[in-house]
Amino acid sequence: MSIRVLVADDARFMRQLIREIIEPEGFEVVGEAADGRAAVDEFTKLQPDLVTMDIVMPKRSGIDALKEILALDATAKIAMVSALGQEALVMEALQAGAADYIVKPFKPEAVIATLKKIAEKTG
């Protein structure tokens, strides 16, 4: 059975890239969100197994959306999507309950390994 993923990133480019990296590997992208508020809404609606959450997004940051989702569902598995220079924000997200993080530019094998590790934790 495929692992249902919500991809939250304000860049279409990045959403498409994540989809193409993970879909051949047993993940199904069930929804996309282009801002933090939409990420929370789509999470509530779709109840995905896993979320990839960009840190820098409009309307609500990825970290605020992470906190809101975890307040709704403490078992939510969320991988933050970060970039060079965002170490402090990644640390804040991990302390707030993010399961792990992936770094842009993506190394496909690292993205897949990280998401599989998180999914296995889900059981």
């Binding site: 304000d10 279409r12 220079g85 170490e87 302390q95």
Partner: protein, 133 residues
């Protein structure tokens, strides 16, 4: 990765981003404290960095990263240095615009804007990747 497909996606999205950055800079020119415009420029510069790096357009990602660093410092202070900071960002916008034009016209990675990078100074040192708690 289908590079041609992602190049097209990059050109579409980068063109939109640069237009939006230009609009936000006009707002910041009038009000260097405009928080929404500052957030917008920071976020879109961050996005340019990520897209550029993903396609190996290092000139785009390095310049966007340097400008993002400056913007991060201004965000912390709650205002851009005016008028120098706004002028610097307009210059960065112009440079990024030219780089995107090179990608559009040649399909190749653009060359870095060495003079502007030198003017921007040294990048912030990269910190170690955080460990899971």
């Amino acid at each position: 990765m289908d590079v041609a497909k992602y190049r097209t996606l990059f050109l579409e999205e980068a063109t939109e981003h640069l237009a939006e950055i230009g609009q936000a800079l006009l707002v910041l020119e009038k009000d260097p404290r405009a928080p929404e415009a500052l957030d917008t420029v920071f976020r879109l510069m961050h996005s340019m960095k990520g897209m550029g790096a993903s396609l190996g357009y290092d000139a785009v990602s390095v310049l966007a990263h340097r400008l993002e660093d400056r913007l991060g410092a201004w965000k912390k202070r709650g205002a851009i240095d005016a008028p120098e900071g706004v002028a610097l960002l307009f210059r960065g916008l112009d440079s990024l615009d030219k780089m995107v034009a090179v990608v559009r016209e040649t399909g190749e990675a653009p060359a870095p804007d060495a003079a502007f990078l030198a003017e921007l100074g040294e990048p912030e040192p990269t910190k170690k990747a955080p460990r899971l708690p």
